[in-house]
Symmetry: C2
Subunit: 295 residues, 2 copies
């Protein structure tokens, strides 16, 4: 295993354990709701966002439970968003991570509620005083996660994404939408490490700029995988964006153009990391991983 | 106007202004989402929960922007929950507060997203340092709101409420469900005043116990209004609980039994306030209002 693969596996193991401990047990009169919440969050996933928190926190010497806690909170938000995005009224997806989507497994009402209940849990675990961040840091982490996931972030991007179906969008429109829909949470994941590390403003700004490019690259690679994809590899309904005529990077740029844009983002993003010299190796490897992943 | 009506009108005016300032303006590419969020939260409502925050905070000499801010956050959570509860997959309600429910006015996808985006905004406005609560208080307020609205509170209660359709439930089951579905947020509204006021533990416990009875009384009066109700008065689809065979207090106890239970809750709740002597007049009047309201 490469050093990157080892670091990623360690983060994944820590996140799975933390999430399992933070999520309510499948018990009590609401057992079914708790089961759906666990299904939504513990169902695999690459845990890339927690890895970003861990890698950026480590730049400032912060390790252990604090980045793991923040990563778990992000995965709760990410997991809820997938459950709601998959609903019949939204993307109407049958598959997620190679399994039935949450509403296919638990019914629509329970899926809506499971998503709804994951949100406060994410903010609760950030607000709790049991993971080594002081109260000011916790409040800052909460503001950041809230802005990244709200109407000026992820939720706003999902609305724009729904509008993108059947529309002729230019590259700038798609970039603006993706900056909100997937980019905001990725950017938060990188900036949270700076909050935990009480990083100087220049370092935090460099990480934010790196994350901006990382988020777009992530989405372009997603589009490429969706275009060539099989449900088995991505675990999602394959080719769906094409079917509904959704505006995507690959649709606008073509495959060759999309790959060229990936190269440009890569050069710019890696340049942002120069100020960290050889301490940012893992973040460089993360970028390479994101643009070469097959799932 | 009675003193209670004056106090209530003052809170309502302050809350409307605070909510309007905190909610994003109807502008930008997500204007439609912001419009739906404002529709969900600014559409009237009695603002009883913010009144509870204001009245309990005042017991400890806390007035002004801090209780207003907490009340606004609660109304965002309350508003999102109504939007999601009204969805076709949930209660499938056409009317809310005398107007079309959010998904009837904006479509289902936008309604889901508007609810989703109100949640982080509620936690964001509690986490922000601009309303006079210190960081420890803000973190405590966030933990409290998250627990009250999550799977062990409001969301869990809504799941149990869905299960209640077509089930033969006993009084204890209905009480347990309502303690979560509507009671948890009402209890939080009363306890938040104690957090803002740095109240001694005995005072906070008395308010929590008072709020527990207030929440049940609130729900029983709701059931009575639904039973005898017309859509015009309650602003909701009338008689719906009966139609779907939902277990309710009135269904189990009958109208006379429900009124008797209101009287018992009243006696016990007012007794909890004895320790505050004549400082709790407004809270006593609030209880009387809740059990005699017509909408």
């Amino acid at each position: 295993m490469s050093r990157f693969a080892q670091a990623s596996a360690a983060v994944t193991a820590a996140i799975e354990a933390e999430l399992s401990a933070l999520l309510p047990p499948v018990a009590g009169p609401q057992a079914r709701l708790h089961e759906a919440m666990r299904y939504a969050v513990l169902g695999g996933g690459k845990r890339l966002r927690p890895f970003m928190v861990a890698a950026t926190a480590e730049l400032f010497g912060v390790r252990g439970v604090a980045p793991t806690r923040v990563g778990a909170a992000i995965e709760m938000i990410h997991g809820y968003s997938l459950v709601h995005d998959d609903l019949p009224a939204m993307d109407d997806a049958e598959l997620r991570r190679g399994r039935p989507s949450c509403h296919r497994a638990f019914g629509e009402a329970t899926a809506i509620l499971a998503g709804d209940a994951l949100q406060p849990l994410a903010f609760e675990v950030l607000a709790r005083p049991d993971y080594g961040a002081d109260a000011e840091q916790r409040a800052a982490l909460i503001v950041g996660l809230a802005v990244a996931s709200g109407s000026l972030g992820m939720c706003g991007g999902q609305l724009l994404d729904l509008l993108a179906e059947k529309q002729r969008w230019a590259l700038d429109d798609i970039s603006a939408m993706q900056r909100l829909k997937t980019g905001a949470l990725i950017r938060y994941a990188c900036e949270a490490g700076a909050v935990l590390g009480r990083a100087p403003a220049t370092a935090a700004a460099a990480l934010g700029a790196y994350a901006e490019d990382l988020g777009l690259a992530f989405q372009i690679q997603d589009d490429l995988l969706d275009r060539g994809g099989e449900g088995v590899a991505t675990g999602k309904d394959a080719g769906r964006d094409d079917q509904v005529g959704k505006a995507t990077f690959v649709g606008v740029l073509g495959e060759a153009g999309a790959r060229r844009m990936l190269g440009e983002l890569r050069a710019r993003a890696l340049g942002r990391l120069d100020i960290f010299e050889d301490r940012a190796t893992v973040l460089r490897e993360l970028f390479e991983f994101v643009i070469s992943r097959k799932t």
